[in-house]
Symmetry: none
Subunit: 200 residues, 2 copies
DNA sequence: TATACTTAAGAACAGATGTGCGTCGTCGTG
DNA sequence: CACGACGACGCACATCTGTTCTTAAGTATA
């Protein structure tokens, strides 16, 4: 991504990036000029425009230090947990391979996602138990068979299987002792994309 | 560290923190005022002074958005997903409270922990399904009833309930169609402390 | 009850800041 | 040579922004 930049633009970008990471907030136009001995603010503007045009940064108009880094996953750190392998079928690896890692947070970190704590056993047969945390993606259209968080017009929210039928929606619990709900005015607040359980 | 803050100060701090981490740059004094409906910039200054005095932030004088977060170990600590509330029992909160967050990675980040991918349905009645990820803590002594990853002397690893009995251990699957194993030479590689499932 | 702290309004000001206009020089390309 | 890019200067302007001062209500503390 940085290849299409000129050398000067690259250095400016790296300067901004380092400042944001190390100092916590970005530079002003004139601060950049000071660093690179560019006397005119407009000289810097030229670079910022180029960086924005090439998709490396985003800026808010007329706002101080409002430089947002795009496509920047932050300082590389070994986050997550080591992924050891598969169990119950094969042989354990003697040593845990440290190079394969899994980061649960980034696994679910999509814009808008949020977490709900599950209450009750209505989804028990879908392996979602009381006390589990469900990751919900509100930016996703529910399709038939999805597990969704649905909200009826009374304001009650509930987690069920989502089955649109004719002029209503069947909200089916994953619990054979419970009956499905048939509702007309209902919306899916989001689709359940993950489940996290903490034991101990 | 946040205990010595008033409720108002805490919320202001969290607002700043979230903005820096999600948007990439911090707010101006008046932006904070807008968020909390504080009409006067000085009302906000008051909070910023308090936060600086209590050591949560550092500011550069007379510089826009020059708020530096202190005692913040970087993006990893502020990652996580907003925790919205409980579902299936009550009413959804209209707005998701941004200040309550849950970070799955740090939730399980204990020294030595590792992750295994589950294969098979032997623990299905414990709501652990094929393809799930199990977080295993090897530094924890298994007690009767724990779900453990057990390794027999042949080198096979398997996930089962752990029931020590007399001169052997009963390894009980959570699947009524399967039979328990009775083994003598077995050790628990670790106790399952978490389960993570990714759907979609 | 008196004191201190927190929270906030309103007004005013100096300086910081982003932005636009015009101009200029250099370099590589056709 | 002309042309377009990149890089930069200088200037000017409108806001944005931090800051300070004064006042004041509410709350907790001693």
């Amino acid at each position: 991504m940085l290849e299409q930049l000129t050398e000067r633009q690259r250095k400016v970008y790296l300067f901004i990036r380092d400042l944001i990471h190390n100092r916590g907030y970005g530079p002003t136009v004139r601060e950049i000029g000071e660093e690179f001995e560019i006397a005119s603010p407009n000289g810097v503007m030229c670079h910022l425009r180029a960086l924005e045009r090439k998709g490396l940064i985003r800026r808010s108009k007329r706002e101080a230090r409002a430089i947002e880094l795009l496509g920047d996953t932050g300082p590389e750190s070994l986050e997550g947990l080591p992924l050891a392998g598969r169990v119950a079928a094969g042989v354990m690896h003697e040593a845990i391979e440290q190079d394969k890692r899994i980061d649960f947070t980034s696994l679910f970190q999509r814009p808008g996602c949020f977490v709900l704590e599950i209450s009750g056993d209505s989804m028990i047969e879908a392996q979602i138990a009381d006390g589990d945390f469900a990751v919900v993606d509100p930016n996703r259209k529910a399709v038939s068979g999805d597990i969704v968080v649905a909200q009826t017009d009374e304001g009650n929210a509930t987690m069920k299987y989502w089955f649109p039928e004719k002029d209503h929606v069947r909200l089916q619990p994953a619990n054979s002792t419970m009956e499905p709900m048939y509702v007309r005015d209902v919306q899916a607040l989001g689709v359940v994309v993950g489940v996290v359980r903490r034991m101990s």
